[in-house]
Amino acid sequence: MEFWIVQTLNAISFAMLLFLLCAGLSVIFGLMNILNLSHGSSYLLGAYIGLTVINATHNFFIGLLAAMVVSGFIGLLLQRFLLQRIYGRRLLQVLLTMGCMFIIGDGAILIWGADPTALPKPGFLNASLHFGNIVFPSYRLFVICIGILVGLGLWFLQERTKWGAILRASVDDEQMARGVGINVPLVFTLVFLVGISLTGVSGVLGGPFVGAYPGVDIEVLLLAVVVIIVGGLGSMKGAFFGSLIVAFLDNFGKALFPELAMFTIFAPMAIVLALKPTGLWGKI
């Protein structure tokens, strides 16, 4: 019994991490039709910057903030100076963002070295909680809470506020939105900023249990691709539920069928692609 409870909680915490990671990618792609392969690099940067700031200030939350700001800023530069120029040209986007991924990944080695590191947890979340026979790290519960809060917040923002309406209008019909006076390029830029910042945040949040090391950018990118394929593009719901599906399959797959560890993620992706290529909740 404990096994199932612990595994379920684990899966949910991993799912929340994936969600934060992918929410950005999904909306950016859905809204702006930009395929950003350097998405994993934002995660990596967020984690390393968080690490540096946390080590300097001994405060997890300042590190979180710093990661959010810096990765958002870099995302901004990427969008305004590079991606803007090749708008709509998919192939070039792939190459450009892949190039950025290599640059950032290798650059990180230059700056932070190549040793694998893990971020320290905030002091008050260091302990594990005990419920009877179950032992579960409190930090992961924290991640679950953050994920749900952010998810609700984003959903609320998108469905219930004016900003959300503007966003949805821009996705549904860009021409009309412009016609009505909405500054669409500004909306795009803001969305990009928010999306990338979220990813940077996920880098810090994931830091204590995933860690930061050369290669984490590609691993994270692959996970994100799977989630958005399964969940569908352009929709927050897709990112959220897609993350849950992938995390559960991965977690229980590993626990019950350890031999198939490599396939537990890609099999569902292939199935979804075969049956519903736009993803389960896709808007495209």
């Binding site: 595994q7 249990f209 050369p214």
Partner: protein
């Protein structure tokens, strides 16, 4: 259509000119480290990917030794050409190997961290008859069933240090073990050695768990651990090790079942980050920072002075790579005649920072293995050695012939549980 292809050929010629320029530039760009060319050592190490930090350690260790002898031996200067072979990039390793041998005309090939690249390069050096000093890659068969006359290894076999660890575990009183390791050949060998001696002495393996290499979340595997065990014996390295140890504690297992393993799971460069989660854990290794011998103290001091950080066992392996080559050169008075040179290297016997070492006829090192415990020493987390097994060969107490008749550990995955 025809028009288009015509233009293709036009522009191709323009491009071939450009390519020629690139090629010529390539030939004229000087190679990285230069001294008056004499003994050329090609150092093929990982400077990108997951093993980057090991690559840096190997490079720094070798350079430290070179500094000590003034980059010169038996009247010849020593030139080291460092090249990045990536991590687990067999094709890149081969490309680099060919480059070092054919373009740079190296006399000796050294380095290599991952076993896949080592196997591939072992074939290459045999083809070109170049002495090959393996500074890290521990795949058992490189100096056993698949050895060749050009191979020399100054590090360890994956299972070499496992044999004494299995013995120690039994002597400590453990009888029912769960074993865990990363799901790849090296994992099978590291863990296999422990199982072999543990079972031989009468212990039982009750479960084998093999998370994939690079696994992030050990929770599902930890939850599966059979709680009847009195010990968990492991092999993990690099970032896997960092996560594993932390999660072992987070999920409450540390309080329930003792954990022991091959030294990599508590590697010196991740130990400070594991901190309390590693407190009291037991591991095995062929070198310890705290070994109090004149050679080790000299090595440690020099390393810290030059690089501003503590050495690791990998750094020491880089250092020994230089030591072995230099001492052999002294003996041959600077001459390098492929197989002959390797025989000379294999005949060496000396005191390294890790202790007394010598080599067997397959080129593998015979050395002491230490059992250590993690403690806080002067405010720093250290692995403190408390027991040693000297003069351990890769075959443990078997003869080479007997040993190589047994099933290789690589194929024993899943077969340790009765």
């Amino acid at each position: 259509m025809i028009k288009k292809n015509g233009q293709g050929w036009v522009t191709l010629s323009i491009l071939s000119i450009a390519s020629t320029v690139v090629f010529l530039a390539d030939g004229f760009i000087p190679l990285k480290i230069h001294a008056a060319p004499a003994v050329k050592i090609g150092y093929a190490i990982s400077m990108s990917g997951v093993f980057t930090s090991y690559g840096e350690d190997l490079r720094d260790g070798l350079n430290l030794y070179m500094d000590k002898i003034g980059h010169k031996v038996a009247g010849r200067n020593i030139e080291i050409i460092v090249e990045d072979i990536g991590s687990n990039q067999v094709n890149r390793a081969l490309d680099v190997g060919r480059k070092l041998i054919q373009k740079n005309n190296i006399d000796i090939l050294a380095g290599v961290i991952d076993s896949g690249s080592a196997y591939a390069l072992a074939n290459l050096v045999e083809k070109h008859k170049i002495p090959f000093v393996i500074s890290n890659a521990g795949a058992d068969d490189l100096t056993q069933r698949k050895s060749n006359p050009y191979i020399m290894r100054v590090s360890f076999t994956n299972s070499g240090g496992s044999h004494p660890l299995g013995v120690w575990a039994f002597e400590k009183g453990y009888r029912k073990a769960v074993v865990m390791g990363s799901d790849y050949a090296a994992g099978y060998e590291h863990v296999g050695g422990i199982c072999q001696t543990f079972k031989k002495m009468g212990g039982k393996i009750i479960q084998e768990i093999w998370p994939p290499l690079g696994n992030q979340d050990f929770a599902p595997y930890l939850a599966n651990v059979n709680r009847d065990a009195d010990v968990v014996m492991v092999f993990f390295a690099a970032s896997d090790a960092l996560r594993f140890v932390k999660q072992y504690e987070e999920y409450g297992l540390k309080k329930k079942i003792p954990l022991i393993g091959k030294g990599y799971y508590l590697d010196d460069n991740i130990l400070p980050k594991q901190a309390e989660a590693a407190d009291g854990l037991i591991s095995e290794s062929h070198w310890c920072f705290l070994l109090d011998t004149p050679e080790n103290n000299e090595f440690n001091t020099a390393f810290i002075k030059k690089y501003g950080r503590r050495p690791t066992n990998i750094g020491e392996q880089g250092y020994i790579t230089g030591m072995v080559i230099a001492k052999a050169l002294e003996k041959t008075k600077g001459e390098i005649k492929s197989e002959e040179f390797v025989k000379v290297m294999r005949s060496l016997e000396f005191k390294a920072p890790r202790g007394m070492i010598k080599f067997d006829k397959y080129g593998e090192v015979i050395q002491t293995y230490y059992i250590r415990k993690v403690e806080k020493v002067k405010g720093e987390w250290q692995s403190v050695p408390f027991k040693s097994y000297p003069e351990v060969s890769q075959f443990w107490t078997w003869t080479p012939e007997e040993y190589m008749k047994m099933t290789p550990y690589m194929e024993m995955k899943g077969k340790w549980v009765e």
